[in-house]
């Protein structure tokens, strides 16, 4: 069975500087993959590349192949024209993007917006359209009568559900959700995640979930990929990666997360900040901030398999135990 989405060597540059620097990713049908990382690591750019929605100032290269179950043959996203892409977007892959809650048109009723999305991509009679809208709203857990409202008459959580409904409008096989719960309270967040989980089960939806919140990814995803400075530094089954990380960045990131019931002390923070694309360090990009860096790290570590389905881009992986770190002062610059 071929993968639903196959990304090979994706590169995105801005003025020659790398934003995404050689990303490979495979998504199987119905699978949920999480893309984790801090802002600037390239995860949103990767998502936008799949939809070919990057602004013209960014150059994209690499092979992206989408093979939806309903299509007759594989779709080469990287080779499609803009017009060709308009047949792919929303029908086969759709996007719930960051800050989506505020992206609804304030002067259109909600059901009108869903109707517009459907009509742009499908021919459909008005009765069937009405039925479809109601079905979509129900699927995301909203009563269909809410469709008559305007965006500002809905709460944040409800608006987010509308955005999910919009993404599902044309029954795509892949949905990319970029930080879908960031602006939401913990309860609303849990509700939306439960919704996404249910949709996956009911509709066989594949999901790329982008978030900086590891907890959110742990809840919803099967596999996870950690990005840093435009590259994937670790990937694997979510439970394996989170319980036994194989890259120092992942490890330090996980350490900084408080987990209720565990140790209450704050771990020493990762000093410094991610590198600017115009000034990438040679070799391993995490080297300036890595407490375990050695001379060897001046050569680029490739992403290689280090365990059951788990891969990491670190010369010293696999890590069976993590040595103690000297105080944060000893490593890199602060501030």
């Amino acid at each position: 069975m071929s993968a639903l989405l196959d990304i090979r060597d994706l590169r995105v540059t801005h003025n020659g500087h790398p934003i995404v620097d050689g990303v490979d990713l495979r998504i199987e049908p119905g699978e949920a993959v999480g893309l984790a990382g801090e802002s600037g690591c390239g995860k949103t750019t990767t998502a936008l590349s799949v939809m070919r929605l990057l602004p013209s100032s960014l150059r994209q290269s690499g092979k992206i192949t989408l093979t939806p179950p309903t299509a007759r043959k594989p779709i080469n996203i990287d080779r499609r024209t803009e017009r060709g892409m308009s047949f792919v977007r929303w029908r086969h892959v759709s996007l719930v993007f960051q800050g989506a809650m505020n992206s609804l048109d304030p002067v259109q009723r909600v059901d009108a917006q869903i109707a517009e999305a459907i009509r742009l991509h499908d021919r459909i009679g008005s009765k069937a359209l009405r039925a479809r809208i109601d079905e979509l709203l129900t699927t995301v857990g909203l009563t269909p009568s809410l469709g008559h409202r305007y965006a500002h008459q809905l709460s944040g959580g409800q608006r987010q559900r509308v955005m999910v409904a919009l993404a599902l409008a044309c029954s795509p096989s892949l949905v990319i959700a970029d930080e879908p719960t960031t602006a939401l309270d913990v309860v609303m967040q849990a509700q939306v995640l439960q919704l996404l989980e249910r949709l996956r089960e009911e509709l066989g939806l594949a999901l790329i979930l982008i978030s900086h919140d590891m907890g959110v990814l742990a809840e919803t995803c099967d596999r996870i990929a950690i990005m840093y400075a435009g590259r994937i530094v670790e990937t694997g089954p979510v439970r394996a990666v989170l319980s036994s990380p194989q890259h120092p960045y992942t490890k330090r990131l996980l350490d900084s997360l408080p987990v209720i019931g565990g140790d209450r002390g704050l771990a020493s923070p990762i000093p410094g900040a991610p590198p600017d694309p115009s000034a990438m360090p040679e070799g391993c990009r995490f080297r300036p901030r890595c407490p375990y860096a050695k001379d060897q790290c001046r050569t680029d570590p490739p992403l290689r398999e280090v365990g059951a389905g788990q891969s990491a881009a670190c010369h010293f992986a696999p890590w069976t135990e993590w040595p103690a770190i000297e105080s944060a002062e000893a490593v890199g610059a602060r501030g």
Binding site: I19, G40, P55, S57, A100, S103, P277
Partner: protein, 303 residues
Amino acid sequence: MSPEQAASAALIPAEAAIEAPTDEGGVRHLLLGTWRGRIGLGIVAFFIFIAIFGSLLAPYDPNASSLDTLAPPSWSHILGTTESGADVFSQLLVGARVSIVVGFAAALISAVLGSAVGLAGGYFGGWTDRSLDALENWFLVIPTLPLMIVLARILNPSLWVLIAVIGLTSWAGTGRIVRAQVFTLRERAFVERARALGAGDVYIIRKHILPNTLPLIFANTVLIVAVAILSEAALSFLGLGDPTRISWGTMLENAFDSGAPSAGAWWYVIPPGLCITVLVLAVSMLGYLFEEYVNPRLKEQEG
């Protein structure tokens, strides 16, 4: 903003906006780096120069009459003569002063008045704002030219009256804009932080609100300069200007009164009109340039 953030910002409204660069470098680049800036600045600088040195450069006394009435351009009178035999070119040079002085002075009054009202109303809100806003609306709604004409008629025409009249009728627009900006600034975290420090209202207005409103006031005022220059020309043309001074508007008034257009004396009619047009265009060009610069930054700052 990282390019990656720019990519998503292209699709979604920026939630955490990065502040734009400060004015210093930006304004200099605008003025000297863009062709609009250079042309606008060049023309305005040229006319200011004329305004200062015009009377020294004039070949003749602009008021001196001679027997050579309505003579077309010649070697002795580059732009010909008026109906009383005075040199058109000299009048043109001297007339620049009135336009520039009235334009800038009136705009200054308008800016100060508008800013004061906008700041007070926008910051204090409540009753103060409601009454000031009503006042502003009154001035906005009244058609400016008729109001100017009425005021100029009632008061004895002189340069100062002219400046006052134009200033009084144009401040409301600035006031409106300033008020809106102050409303937004008032709620910003750094203003709240200043309050939490114990800063008083006057201090906050002086140190936090005003500096962040100045770019806007400046951009708006430049446009008012253009309006003021045109208004002066219009009022003078209608005979409401200062009769003791020569301005481009009075030149046009005299030209039309003495039948120059029908006599075919183009050298009398076209130069003042052309000067007005070119100066106003140049000032407007600069004004819009500044406004464009200030506005997208405003949007970015809103976050």
